[in-house]
Every structure is written in C-alpha cells, then in structure tokens.
Symmetry: C2
Subunit: 499 residues, 2 copies
C-alpha cells in the first residue's frame, strides 16, 4: 500500500521538525544568551509552522484519504502506526497555519516574559502574555471541538480521552481523602525533625550525586545528559538523545536529587520506546498522565521508601560526611516524607501535592471557559491556597508565577500530574503482587528488574496503546484514587507512627 510509505515519509519529516523544535527549546532553557530570544522565537515559529504544514498539506490530505479507505486491510505495526498518523493528521487539519505560527511565537515570548515576571515577582509583567496565549488556546479548543466542556479539548492533547466530567468526581474524592489524612497528620508535623535536609550542601556535589543515582536507576548517559535550568524538565530528540534538567538549592538537598529522579523517570520512559517506532508518531510516551506515572513512580514510590535510603544513604554520606553524620535511613526517610503545606508545587510532599494540582485545574478550567479574567488569577490563587492548604504566598513568584506551564500554553497539562500519581499507585500495587520481593530489590539497589517490568509493560509500546488500555492490561482496572489514598495512608502511618 503506497499510502503507508507516503505516511511514513510525512511522519519522518514531522518527527524530525518536532525534534528540532525541541532542541531549540532545550537550548533556550539551558544555554541561550538573553539577546537571542527574539531570533529564537522566529526560528521555533518557522519550524513549528513547517511541521504543521507538512502534516496538513495536500500530500498529507491525499495520503490520509487513501489510508482511511484501506485501514482495515492493515495489520500489526502498520495498522497501529497508521491509526496514529490519522489521529494526529485529523487533529492538525483543524488548526490553520496562521494560528499555529502565532501560538508558537507567543509561547516563546511568553516564556521570557514569565522568567522576567518571576524574577521580579511581578505578575503584571506576565499578564499580557498569558492573556494572549489563553486567547489563542481558546481559539484552538473551539476549532478542535468538544461535546461537554471546552477544557476537554485541551486536556485531550495531553491525556487523550480524558474529560472534566471524569476527572472532577475523582479529584473530589481525592481531595476529601487527602483532607481527612491531613487532619490526622498535620498536628504531628513537628514530631519529625527534617533539619537535615536544609544544611549546606555544595551544589556541584549534589549534581554529581544526583547523576550517579539516576544512572544506577537505569538512565542511560550514552543516550542522554543532564543540564541545569530554572525549572526542571525532560525533553527528547530521539530515544537515543534524551535531555534532563534539574536545579540546585544549596540549602535543600531534595530539590536537585528528586527533581532529577523525576525527570529521569520521564527520560527512561522515552529511552525505552521500541526503536522500531523511530521517526513515526508511535515513538514517544503515550500520554502525559502515563508519563507522569513513570516520573512519579521513581521519584516517590521508589525513591521515598525507607529501603531506598538503606541503599542510597551510605553513598550520600560519602559525599557529605559532615552534614549527615549519624543520620539513619529511617531518619532520612521520615524527613523526606514530612507532610506539610507549602507554596511551591514541585517542593511539596506527595500528599499535599494533589491539592496544588486541583487548584490549578480549577483555575485553568475557569479561565479557559472565560469564567474569570487573567487579572483575577493572583487573588484567586491566593484565596484557594488559603482555603485548601491554609497558607498564603507572600508574592506571585511563590504563587501563580511558580510554574513554567502557563508560559508555554500548556493548559490542560496539570491534571496529568495527579493522574500520574493515581496511575503510579495502581502500578505499585500491581508490581508488589507480581514481585513480592520488590522492597528487597530496592534495598539492594537492584533496579534492573523494576525498570524491566516498566519497559515490558509500558515503555516499549510508545503511543500504540492509550492510558486506559495500558492500565486495564497491566492492572486489570481503570482510573481510581483508592490505591493512591491507601498508599499515602500507609506511608503516613509508618512515618508518623499513627495508630
């Protein structure tokens, strides 16, 4: 079938252009001098526009038409990959080139605006950029179409098939369960001494330690690397070139290490995609929710166990002998699992974390549906922080400016983090069933069988299976908050010695 080869030709170009755009984005966040921003915005816009043109041009339309009529005759990889080609093509043709170019340019400029606003702690600098981007994303949502809620059209880009009507009740039960748990735990929060985390830890040594840890977890440095950026992220240009970034706080040993383990979770997913999908639309993680399930699985489920620190603490002590002295694995485990309301999402504990997400979800859902205006955001943010976490940010930098996502127009992305937590807890339940020895593996630093389990069950498939299909196949169940609540409940019991 000639259309299959034509579709491959189109996918190769599109994937190459998208990879190149990712290189430009990576450089912008890591090394680009400040003067380069205007030119970079043009370059990214040109590449993104070309990518869109290739995916939606006359050749692609003819190819899609030919494919559709013959799709049923295909089998195996061909069928899966061509189905993805049609899905992406059909979605892309809904957006005119002009909107794609305008959005790309607005994103680049908004990212610089966000950086400036954050460093000056001044939302007003970012507001016009945000307003512009939201307007463009509303246009996109209307063009994509939706049946229930405009926000669904955007969420679908990150978590195909997800809807506000599915998420809302799950999030509501999750909030209730979280609040009940916090009611028990918060009175005890000062019973754990976590000063050990806030000693002075030399930056360079933190970074080296973090890199050695993710290497041992299974992140392949022949096919990836680590750099620094204002906000940690993972990007990839191929399964053979995966870039992680982290940031380092001298007085918080968690920031660099857990940031890096988180991003390495994403990175190992991308490194694990079957190379037979290279330069096709199947060659990446299937959804942001599943992606986050991988990053959070390593960051929290694995690296915040007591067993992990039985293995890792002796190594950390050789790097920082003075700071860590006679700290025991259990001391360290308890310190990194303190539950405590905090301003910054990425520094928050895994239980209160979801309250940060629910707050963002509610604000995003409101501004995408034009229920609130951009200028209302800081006040609304602070009000929601007060009611859900009981604390109020002192300024916008530790409030509504803390995350990069809104500066690249990633509205609909945040729910993925909580979906990722729920999926990760479900996977953990299943992994313990299949490998009852898993805690021993962690305690001995033998992560190979765990990575292999994730590789064979999830990573290798790339985008050929969707979230729901994966979770059903691996765990036999659909999305639920119960595993997560049981998981954090058990951890709270252990960490706080609850009855």
């Amino acid at each position: 079938m000639q259309a299959v080869e034509q579709a491959h030709e189109i996918m190769r170009k599109v994937k190459d252009l998208n990879a190149v755009s990712a290189v430009l984005g990576w450089d912008q966040e890591t090394y680009m001098p400040s003067g380069g921003i205007e030119a970079r915005a043009e370059h990214i816009a040109t590449i993104d526009t070309l990518s869109h043109e290739v995916l939606t041009g006359d050749t692609a339309r003819r190819t899609a038409d030919n494919l559709r009529s013959g799709l049923d005759t295909l089998t195996g990889d061909d069928k899966e990959i061509m189905t993805l080609f049609l899905r992406d093509h059909d979605r892309a043709v809904k957006l005119p080139d002009s909107l794609v170019r305008e959005t790309s340019r607005a994103q680049s400029l908004a990212q610089e605006g966000w950086k400036k606003a954050k460093s000056e702690k001044n939302f007003a600098i970012f507001a016009p950029h945000l307003e512009r981007l939201i307007g463009l994303k509303i246009q996109a949502a209307e063009l994509y179409g939706y049946t229930e809620n405009r926000y669904d059209a955007l969420m679908d880009l990150f978590e195909p098939g997800m809807k506000v009507s599915i998420i809302k009740p799950v999030f509501e039960r999750l909030r209730q369960g979280t609040v009940e748990l916090l009611d028990k735990v918060l009175p005890l929060r000062d019973s754990i001494n976590d000063e050990i985390l806030h000693k002075s830890y030399e930056r360079e040594k933190q970074l080296e330690f973090g890199k050695s840890i993710v290497n041992k977890l299974g992140f392949d440095f022949e096919r990836g690397r680590v750099d620094l950026s204002a906000h940690p992220f993972c990007t990839n240009f191929a399964p053979t070139d995966v870039r992680l970034t982290t940031r380092i706080l001298e007085n918080d040993i968690r920031s660099c290490l857990f940031g890096l383990i988180h991003e390495a979770g994403h990175g190992m997913y991308e490194q694990g995609v079957n190379m037979k999908y290279f330069r096709t639309f199947a060659a990446e993680g299937t959804s942001m929710g599943i992606h986050e399930s991988q990053s959070l699985f390593w960051e929290n489920v694995i690296a915040r166990t007591e067993e992990f620190w039985q293995w890792a603490l002796p190594q950390l002590k050789t790097v920082f002998p003075e700071q860590l002295g006679d700290t025991t694995p259990r001391d360290f485990y308890r310190a990194i699992n303190v539950m405590r309301p905090s301003f910054i999402r990425i520094d928050s504990d895994e239980t209160t974390y979801n309250l940060h997400i629910i707050l963002r979800f509610e604000i995003e859902e409101a501004f995408i549906n034009e229920k609130i205006r951009v200028n209302d955001i800081p006040e609304l943010w602070n009000e929601k922080m007060r009611t859900s976490l009981g604390i109020v940010p002192r300024n916008d930098a530790e409030g509504c400016l803390q995350d990069v996502h809104w500066s690249f127009g990633g509205y609909g992305y945040f729910p993925s983090y909580t979906l990722g937590k729920l999926y990760a807890a479900m996977l953990w339940t299943q992994l313990q069933k299949e490998k009852p020895e898993v805690r021993n593996l962690i305690a001995s630093g033998d992560f190979g069988p765990i990575l292999e389990w994730l590789r064979s069950n999830i990573h290798q498939y790339g985008r050929t299976q969707m979230s729901e299909e994966i979770m059903q196949r691996v765990t036999g169940r659909g999305l639920t908050e119960t595993d997560f609540l049981a998981y954090v409940g058990a951890k709270a019991q252990d960490v706080y010695n609850l009855a």
Copy 2:
C-alpha cells in the same frame, strides 16, 4: 514590487532553517550524547533539505524570474539584498535536492567518523567517509560549473570570485618569502625561552581569563556565549546569538586564550552586522577570507603585540601568580611569537602557519581534481610536512586528521585562512595610517576605537560588499602578500633582535 516581499519571505524561511541547522551543529559539537548521532544526522539532513527546497522551489523560481526583470528599477538596500537573493538562488538551483540531502547526511556521519579516527589515530576509519564526501563535492563542483579549475567552483563558496590561478602565484611568493625569513630565524629559535607557556595552568581559570579578555575586546556576552569543543569554532544563529567554543590544554596557555580570541574575532564580526539585514541573505560575514581577517586580526595582529601584554599580563598574573612570577611583557611577547615548525596548524606561529595552509591547499586541489586517491593522503601529507616544515608527524592524529574541515566537506575553505592573514596585514597597515596612536590604545586596553574602525569599515555591511570591494575601499589596494611579509619580517626582527 511584490517579488521583493516574496523574496524576503523566502529568505526569512531559509535563514531561519540555516540558523536552526547551526544550532543542531553547535549542540552536536558541544553537548550531544554520543548515542544521539544517528538521529542528529537525520534531523540536520531534513532541515538542510527543506532549506534547499525553499530556496529552489517553484515559488522561489517564479520570484527570481520576476526579480531579474525588475532588478534595475531597485535601489539601495533593496537592490543589494535582492542581488544576493538571486546569487544564492541561482547557485542553489544547480544542485538537486537529493544531492543536498545525501551530502548533509554524509557530513554528519563523517564528523563522527573523524572524531573516532582522530582519537584512535587511525586514518583508515575516516577514509571511507572522506572518499564519499569528496565524491559528493566533486559532483557539486561539476554542477556549479567553472572555467579554469574544478577547485575554483568549491573555493567560490567560501571566497566568492577567488581562483586557483589568482591564489597560486600569491601563495608561491608567500612561500618563498616565508622560507627566506625562516632561514634567518630558525637558527635562533632556541634563543627564546618559552617554557613559561607550558607550566601547569588550571583549566577553569584559563577559561575564565579568556572569557574576560574577549569581553574586554568587545565580544558581547548578552548576545553570545562560550563553550568547549574538540576543535574551536564560531557559529551564529543571529547577530544577537553568537556562539564561540574553545579547548583548553593544561600545559599550553596559548591554546584556550588565542583560540578564544580568534573565535571572538569571528564572533564580533557577526555581532557587528547591521540588524537591518536580519533574516536576509546579507546578514552574515561576506566571505571566509574576510572572516578570517577579523579573527586573525584580533588573535595575531592585536593580541600578539608587546603592547597587548603590557596591558594583559598584569591581569593574567593575578590569576596565575605562581606560574608567572616576574615574567615581563616583553618575555611573554617573545615567547608567544617564537617561530618554530610544528605539527598542528592551530598551534603554529603566524609565519609557519601559511605553510600548513599551502600544504592543505595543494592536497585538496589534487584530490578534487582526482590527481590523487584518498588513501594517498597520509603519505602525501607527511612528505609535504617534511619538505616544507622539515618535520614528520608521528601519527595521523597530528597529521592529516588534525582538522575538522574535511569531515564537513569544507574543501576550498583552507585558503581562506591565508587570505585572511594577508587581508589582516593590509588592514593593519591602513589602521596604523589612520590611527597612528593605535599601539597606545592597545597598551591601555582601549579596544573600542579599533572595534569601531572594523565595525564601520567592514562589519556593518554584512554580505552587501565582496572581499575585493571591501579591501579596495578600505585600503585602496587589491590582494597582496607584501604587507604580511613586511609585518612578520618586522616582528621577527623585534622578537629575535635581528640586525
């Protein structure tokens, strides 16, 4: 004239794509993990092919036809820029897309092959890559066309208008003059003690010092940065984003510093191009010869004067007080101007340097005209080293594998270095006439007026004036080796206290 706007639209796309290709190349040489090479080769090939398609597609052909008929009605910037558009378009249509793509891919792979061959000191690893690339470049030369020598067609890409028949007699007189000078100097070469250059100099401090020096020369770090790579280079993605690289040898203080000053000379040229040319074909240095005149002007003419070290040595002493002790500016000046045959072009002195270039020029001219085979190169190289410099490399890494150029197919580039030296000496003669106080400026670290002179005479014009036109306008003369021979003659006299 609608065609003018159409041409601008095409140029913007082409310039953006070329800039993006440069980003990919920069990353490949600086940070890319080794596993990324295959994917990177595809990405660069896709971008280069697209760039070629845009410049040669139906729209570009129609635009070019319309422009040609109305070119005489244009004036000023429009005329200059449209002339460049037509020049580049007309050349590009001579190459089929397939050849461009194949060449791009072969270049990426050859660069990795070269790295491996060099690190293993084994030409055989690189030979098949080189053979393939030479074959592709011969095809290109035949398609471009030439009247006298196939090599002219390739040299024209780097130095428009230059021919073997022009260069050969100039290079021959230059070789004679150089050999005569060396006959006087080489017997005295041990009269200068340059051990000071080879003490142990901490890498990180060398880099910081080099960066501070090029900053003071006028390289703008808001619009550029410095990284490390195996072979120093300068690339730019816009006048506002110029990247330099250098390499550091712990036991040779010249390598990092002079490499960086050299690349900063290129970088300041690019930073100085008038922004009104941004995203047009005028927005870059006009030729590699003029480019090298700028890098060599700063590296040699300025930074190897005694006056420069009257200013710079006290600063270097604060960084390396133990190593430099009571070294005087004159000691240092004499040490960095020792003339001595060496294996490595980029580490050689400015006088013997040209013998390295003439050797490469002769070998390239021979293999492009199929007078020799690729496998003959190592032996021929060593033989020419013996007859022209009197020394024979111990292995291919310090012989024919030392330079990156052949791995990216840059045949015809090397002569630019010597042209650059000749131009630089002509500019120096002229600058001294116009600013008799120039040596005092250097001694006081006041480089602003020198950079300003280069900016207003050369940089600002970008590609709107060609080499010959620039040299005639600024110096009133065409290409000559006499200024260079007088310049190195005078320096030898001073450095070696010749009669």
